[in-house]
């Protein structure tokens, strides 16, 4: 059974603006799918549709095998944890630990102290347990928001621009944190590098679905990037320029590890060429 199944999904705002059209996507349990696209592509709207805050204008959406509609939305939302772009929109309580307990208390879950302790430990916010969240940095507040979600132990994580607004160090730390999680994930982002590190597969969305594949396949296709209004990340751009200069590249890298592997191969080939 797929964790999420969308068939010909469509959504239109009250003023008639089309936000999503004809999206068919299935996400297996434990799979991580990135939804990439420019601003206004419908990424956040898609997450809100999945979380049942808005109802699709057309098509079908099932969560853990159950059809999502107005009646089932509240119940199905128990399976999902939504990370908002701005953590302040989802932090309510006066201390970090009380905020982590907020969801489990509302849902009537058991072992709240254990859940809170585990959530704070896994997000590295244990030492902040008694601190008021509003006095923490943006990156830390994002971690607190994630702790609040993890304490509810949802099977599906919906992450809306998880890396936006973070400094490089906080961004890397957050990516490492999310990489260590085992939940099904749908990550809405325009950060292709973060998507490459986090997701198994990506869907390019620009109101309509434009392409699907690995991030590596997507960045290698200039037509797709241009069609979706996406900018190629720095690493593939650099390797692309090297290729133009006569150094062949097997496939354009997106992550640092992929780039290092590609450059190593390039150096080896060059060394062989010079010695032979």
């Amino acid at each position: 059974m797929a964790a999420l199944d969308m068939r010909d999904l469509g959504f239109r705002y009250d003023d008639g603006t089309e936000a999503i059209k004809g999206l068919t996507l299935s996400v297996a349990q434990g799979e991580r799918v990135a939804v990439v696209g420019p601003n206004g592509a419908g990424k956040s709207t898609l997450l809100h549709l999945i979380a049942g805050f808005r109802m699709p204008f057309s098509g079908d959406l099932t969560v853990m095998g159950k059809r999502l509609d107005k009646n089932s939305a509240d119940g199905l939302r128990r399976h999902m944890g939504l990370l908002f772009q701005d953590p302040d929109d989802q932090i309510f309580m006066p201390t970090v630990e009380e905020d982590a307990a907020f969801g489990p208390v509302n849902l009537g879950l058991e072992d709240i102290p254990g859940r809170v302790a585990r959530a704070l430990r896994s997000t590295g916010t244990e030492h902040l347990a008694k601190r008021p969240p509003q006095r923490l940095s943006f990156g830390m507040r994002k971690r607190v928001a994630i702790a609040g979600i993890l304490a509810m132990d949802p099977g599906i994580l919906l992450l809306d621009e998880p890396t936006s607004g973070l400094d490089p160090r906080s961004r890397s730390q957050l990516i490492a944190l999310l990489k260590g999680m085992r939940q099904t994930m749908v990550i809405a982002t325009h950060d292709l590098e973060a998507a490459a590190e986090l997701a198994d597969r990506a869907v390019v969305l620009n109101v309509r679905p434009v392409a699907e594949g690995t991030i590596r396949q997507i960045v290698s296709d200039r037509a797709v990037l241009e069609g979706a209004g996406l900018e190629m990340p720095t690493l593939p751009k650099l390797l692309g320029r090297l290729e133009e200069m006569g150094y062949p590249v097997e496939s354009l890298p997106v992550t640092m590890e992929q780039a290092l592997a590609e450059i190593s191969r390039m150096v080896e080939r060059e060394a062989e060429r010079r010695s032979g």
Partner: protein, 258 residues
């Protein structure tokens, strides 16, 4: 009120400043229920006083409470000044019809109540205050509305701060007279934009609450029992309030009467 005055004067509003003095007082360690019941009992008693010497005594008790609370006097004075116009209007209206003595008694009586409530509000974190009300069996609808209103005020304040920074960055000079038509126009546009933005954020906050299983009641996680020190604090305030009422009703003779 402070937020609006700050806006006109071009001062910044910071959400966490609301509770900034709560932890400077020993009062914050006390259970909110004990504080609420004790202070409200004192306020009711102070409001019932009509004899000048007892009105004065209740004002002295309120000032003693404020002085012993360790809350910075400047903070309490600023908050009192925000309420001063209302106290003045009430006292003047009573003074005009009932004479100077009754006007002064009204000023002292309302001041005693306001000071006691300011000590309670400044010496308790806002959330703890609402949670205390809930634990005192105030209906969930009321406490939830209070908490959401509080959260909305914080959102309004944050949006206001952002707008003020943006306005300043584009050369708008703050501290203008309210008679300045251009300044007034910009201020009214700012207020409109703040409301529009805050409404958007309020929607997202509601979705944030729903996504975390919220139904209709903000339930605290840890329910702390009332300790001996809380009972002692409550007993002192109840005893003081009861004494004032007994003196007022002349059940017990006021010891300082001539």
């Amino acid at each position: 009120m402070t937020m609006v005055l700050g806006h006109i004067k071009g001062q910044h509003f910071r959400a966490h400043h609301i509770d900034e003095h709560a932890r400077s007082s020993w009062l914050w360690r006390l259970d909110a229920r004990a504080k609420l019941v004790g202070v409200l009992a004192f306020v009711v008693a102070a409001a019932l006083m009509t004899r000048p010497e007892l009105v004065l005594a209740s004002l002295c008790l309120a000032l003693l409470m404020a002085a012993s609370s360790m809350i910075p006097a400047s903070h309490l004075a600023r908050a009192y000044l925000a309420a001063a116009p209302f106290i003045l209007i009430a006292s003047l209206s009573v003074g005009l019809y009932g004479g100077l003595g009754k006007g002064l008694a009204m000023a002292a009586r309302t001041s005693a109540c306001v000071i006691a409530l300011l000590v309670l509000a400044s010496g308790t974190e806002t959330f703890a205050l609402f949670a205390g009300l809930r634990r005192l069996r105030v209906p969930a609808l009321v406490t939830t509305l209070l908490m959401l209103t509080y959260k909305f005020i914080l959102l309004l304040g944050e949006e206001l701060s952002r707008m003020m920074v943006a306005r300043k960055a584009r050369g708008f000079r703050t501290g203008r007279s309210l008679a300045d038509r251009y300044g007034l126009k910009v201020l009214s546009y700012t207020a409109g934009m703040v409301l529009v933005r805050a409404s958007g954020r309020a929607d997202r906050t509601y979705e944030g609450l729903k996504s975390r299983g919220f139904e209709k009641d903000f339930t605290g996680w840890r329910s702390v029992g009332v300790r001996a020190v809380d009972w002692a604090f409550l007993a002192v305030l109840i005893a003081a309030s009861a004494s004032l009422v007994l003196f007022q009703l002349e059940v017990v003779a006021w010891p300082l009467s001539t």
